[in-house]
């Protein structure tokens, strides 16, 4: 285990130094790697650890992006605080959704439908609110500065997104080892058996969805201030909900390193192929590539890449210690 931590520390040191050598385009790819790894990590809390499948996590990204941007434009509130307001609202909305799902025993596909519906409802509602730009969305004005969460170039975004990924993963790591995290895993493994051991599955499912939504929404604020444009379809849409779950699934569900590894594999592939395919007029082909990779992993690496990686590196890392 000590060698594993050593390896992770080394990798982190390399990542911290990368902006010295990489250009803006390559840094942008790393920003997306960290962003999606963090999103996957946030989703992982509810689905990977607690076992409730959410296909509507774009809902929380959208809330985070819209709330902080709205507060910044209307009241001049710094997105650093607007981010927390968005997180709080996302957690409240998630608790409402969770109450409906967990109190009334919606599980499996029925819970999935609930999560999709809520995200779609939010998308349609936001599409009709003029104060946040309705269908056409919001363009953010560019006022670089730390308080505005806006920067020239990609170096600041690189370090902020790296911070999100590292701190988010650390938080999930600590959660997984805590009493709460252990009870969440019991619910995932067998909810009835967990109930029989005194686990209050309603309470811990509610805690899981609130944490997951809060974390997810912070990424929304980041994204808004990185691309300067929000639209209901891109921030609340189904495409994002699917996009953000692929990395933890491919990397390894219910593990801390899974979403990170998944993102390092999938995000560069998607970013690079998107650019090159679009240049040669084959827009959308990167999605096909995605699909093929997802199928291959499901067929040949059932538990995600991490399990196989761990097995291969076991002798060297001395994981048993």
């Amino acid at each position: 285990m000590r060698r594993l931590y050593l390896l992770l520390g080394l990798l982190l040191a390399v990542l911290l130094l990368l902006p010295l050598v990489l250009d803006k385009y390559l840094l942008g790819i790393f920003v997306m790697i960290f962003y999606y790894a963090y999103l996957g990590q946030s989703w992982n809390v509810l689905t990977g650890y607690t076992g409730h499948i959410s296909l509507g996590h774009a809902l929380y990204v959208g809330i985070g992006a819209y709330v902080s941007t709205f507060l910044a434009q209307k009241f001049g509130l710094t997105p650093w605080l607007g981010m927390l307001a968005g997180g709080a609202l996302a957690a409240v909305v998630a608790l409402g959704l969770g109450y409906l799902g967990f109190r009334f025993g919606l599980r499996g596909v029925y819970f999935v439908i609930l999560t999709i519906s809520c995200a779609e409802i939010a998308r349609l509602v936001v599409s009709h609110i003029d104060a946040v730009g309705s269908f056409s969305g919001i363009f953010l004005d560019f006022h670089p500065g730390f308080a505005n969460f806006q920067f020239r170039g990609n170096v600041h975004y690189y370090y902020i997104s790296l911070g999100f990924m590292v701190l988010g993963s650390l938080a999930v790591h600590l959660l997984a080892r805590s009493r709460t995290g252990r009870l969440m895993v019991a619910i995932r493994e067998d909810e009835q058996a967990a109930l029989a051991l005194g686990v209050d599955s309603f309470k811990y499912s509610m805690i899981a969805i609130a944490i997951s939504a809060f974390m997810t929404s912070l990424a929304g604020t980041f994204y808004a201030n990185y691309v300067f444009y929000l639209s209901p379809n891109s921030m609340f849409g189904m495409a994002l909900s699917i996009d953000l779950i692929l990395r933890p699934i491919i990397g390894g569900l219910g593990t801390v390193l899974g979403p990170i590894i998944g993102s390092f594999v999938l995000t560069p592939l998607s970013e690079v192929s998107r650019t090159y395919f679009a240049q040669s007029g084959l827009e959308g082909l990167h999605l096909v590539l995605y699909g093929v990779l997802a199928i291959l992993v499901v067929l040949f690496m059932r538990q995600g890449i991490l399990v196989y990686l761990a097995r291969a590196l076991r002798p060297w890392l001395k994981l048993e210690e």
Binding site: A186, E189, A194, L197, D200
Partner: protein, 241 residues
Amino acid sequence: MELLRVKDLGKHFGGLTAVDGLSFQLRPGEMLGLIGPNGAGKTTVFACLSGFLRPEQGEVLLEGQTLVGLAPNRICELGLARTFQIVRPFLNISVLDNVMVGALLREKSVARARALACEVLGFVGLGHLAQSPATGLPLPLRKRLELAKALATRPKVLLLDEVMAGLNPTEVDELIAFIRRINAQGVGILLIEHVMRGVMALASRVLVINYGQLIAQGTPQEVVGNQEVIEAYLGRGLKHA
């Protein structure tokens, strides 16, 4: 005062009466057997006592407190734990982590829960397998794990649903010894069991149910000689003309 008191318990599934006016008591430190042919309603009784099903009539009192209508986790918190007939290990985590879920009910600190779980695993003879994933355990060890999980919640009453089914005689004898030791610590035990070797060895009293009704009770020796019990299991002999 009795530890567990069941009065006039009733549960129907549509037109089928699964439990019909069942009453009994479990005294502190007692081991009570619940037997009956397949489909007699034994597992339904357990589900009603542990909160997984809500009985339509009757009362269940644990040390005087009513359990009917409480959620299963609340009932476990109050001190009534159960095992499942078809064992339900948390497959993707280690044996120790499985038992820790139970231990975390009383011990809020992870370190103390780990210590309690290790103690329980040692007690049921699974100490050497603590770090193995539960998915690797064969059935006899899964049965012990099921027992360990329930035991880690520190119950006052333990409901054991066919923990001996599928085990060979040696394994049954080992399990009998474990259950005796649990009982010796003052835990009241209610035992559903088809393995008569186990019932005869453990239970001081046996309740026999058929079609949800109590048809006989007494010491194990008394009930196995009871004509009605024999008929419930084997049917009535043909009358010769």
